[in-house]
């Protein structure tokens, strides 16, 4: 469940709707009723207003805390540190991005083996986004020239052909800046 929420765009979209729809329903209902149905002043007391204000702000703070605390294990800095400290050594891969292609030191990886992507740009700002074969973005990295490297460790869990795309606009052939990597079953 948490994996779906924090590791896919559709998880983010689901949470978006869970926040937006209740707000829309409540706010628009109040505006409609107070504008078109009964615009008389309500008899709500200051004490009641204080209570509702306390409840509302407590709810908002609690929701913000929950969604951020639950996301910690999915932060790349966190899972990269965990993978680096694990038993299986990460495979280092260098990625050099230049308009409009990638030069990678390896293109084939195995399921379950951590891969450390060390990526940099040689000219302008580029992105290095890896897509799951089903179309989900697994992660994206922003590569700013002059910065040493952007880096994270990712462990593939399924075999297949993964698309790589640039997600930072980089000129006239930006949409053609892509590549593929292959993930195979673990050898043993």
């Amino acid at each position: 469940m948490l994996e779906f929420i924090y590791q896919s765009g559709w998880g983010a979209f689901t949470v978006l709707l869970l926040f937006q729809i209740p707000f829309l329903l409540v706010f628009l209902t109040i505006v409609f009723r107070k504008a078109y149905v009964n615009s008389e002043p309500s008899g709500i007391t200051d004490a009641d207003v204080g209570k509702w204000r306390g409840r509302w702000l407590t709810l908002v703070v609690a929701l913000f805390l929950i969604i951020n605390l639950a996301s910690i294990k999915f932060i790349p800095a966190v899972y990269t540190a965990r993978a680096a400290a694990g038993d299986v050594a990460a495979i280092d891969v260098t990625v050099e991005a230049q308009s409009w292609s990638y030069d990678m030191s390896a293109y084939e990886f195995e399921v379950g083996k951590p891969v450390r992507f060390n990526a940099k740009s040689l000219d302008t700002v580029h992105g290095f986004a890896v897509y799951h074969p089903d179309g989900d973005v697994l992660f994206t990295m922003m590569l700013v020239p002059g910065v040493s490297e952007s880096s994270l460790i990712y462990t593939f869990t399924e075999p297949g052909t993964y698309k790589v795309r640039c997600l930072e606009y980089c000129g006239m052939a930006h949409h053609d800046m892509s590549d593929e990597i292959t993930v195979t079953e673990a050898s043993s």
Binding site: V31, K34, I44, R53, N68, M142, R165, Y169
Partner: protein
Amino acid sequence: MSIANSIVSSVPVFGRMFKVESEPELNDINFWPAAMIMASFLWLSVAVLLGIALPLTQMLGLDASLFYTAITAHGAAMAFPYVFQLMMGVGLHRAGGCVGKPVTGWLPAAAFWLMNIGGILFTIAILMGLKISYAVMYPLPVVGVATGQWSMASVIIGFTGIAGILITVILLYPVQVIKMLFFDKEREELVLNRRKLSDPGMLGMAMAAFVLLIMGSPLLIVASAVLLFLYGIVPFAWIAWAADPMVFQFVFYIFAHNLMEAMAIMVVSAVYATLPLYLADGTRKLYSDKMANLALWILLLTSVTSFFHHFFTMFPALPSALSYHGNIMSYGTGIGAAITIFTVTMTIVKHGLRPEAGVMAVLMGFTLYILDGVSAIITSNIAWSFQLHGTMWQAGHTMAVLIAMSMMWMGVLLHHYPVITGRVLDAASGKWFVILFTVGAMGVNWSFLAAGAAGMPRRFASWDQEGWMVYGYLILLFGLCLALSLLIFLINVSKARRIDTGMAASPAE
């Protein structure tokens, strides 16, 4: 006749919409704002056509360069010459009427000319081939020259235009507001609705001016240095510090992020000012000025350093501590927004509402602004940012915040229009504008966000991959709905009737 009024009078079609025919003693707070508002709607018309052209270039399989030309010109026109200029025009009129100070002299004139000439120069550069998106993407402009994508002449013209826009946004407009709020002499005949600085309807205007001036200055310095080199005035060695991509990226986003936040603070303040004028029981007060001001202060303090969320995916080049800080501050802005929601909602609950087009546009714009705020805080969470950064999600966020602010300002404009022009608008047309704009804006926004969730890259001239074109059709459909609503708005404005003697200038005044 003032130069500003001559400009408005001489422009076909749009000039008639915003020509000042109100009481002559108010001319000093009406002429330049009317010129700015008129020019902003000219730019909007161009931006809407370009916005519709974007999905069409993809559906018709046209050349990618057309898409990148349209997206650069559309973004540039929307963000600055349209939304910012509209805000500048309505905001300066509001400020003048609240403190009784004139909007005259060289400052508003320079702001008008530099914004519009800057916008025209940037557009010429785009037509010459400069396709850098409205975010500039430095060092792309110079890399593009090195790789033969466009000429150095287009970069020089484009950067000159951008400089004009930046001088307006970062220097001229904030200085004009600060001058009016703190220095100029009050003229009793200009006071329409007196407000103090502690009034929530005024506080945001002052905050926004200082944010723009302070947070924009580093970019102005860096951009000026680069421009001096481009003009051949100084050698590269003198400006190498400014040409570093990291330096430019950081000063750009410190400005661009805070520009959006400043505009949001200012428009929330305008909501606080406008809503009480339409309360059913005639109270003319928010349920709590203290809560309203608290929300503005929280928005101000948290938004200033939340810009780090633009750089989460540079890890580890952006230290984790700064990422965590950006994440937390971004959610802090959510607390400010939550207090604002409560203040607006409780004011309506307590006092009822008179549903006129102006206030309904303000409230629907506010609704869009909150919906967009949700998409903003989601992508400001570090974990989600690594799935969403660079996708259509973020394009949707940028577009939605501009559209939401635009609608709130158009609502405020509907309120001020009779005072500025001396003419009244048709209520039924105003209602249809609000309905169609709301439906179009929500539809476009959800289409963008769904496209981002599906992994569709932003600023990407190949929508036919992975089945993404379906989002293109939805964007076009709801975009046409938005365009229709704007057409209704402009027709309504062009058919406005002169106020009869004795008729109230505005129903709420």
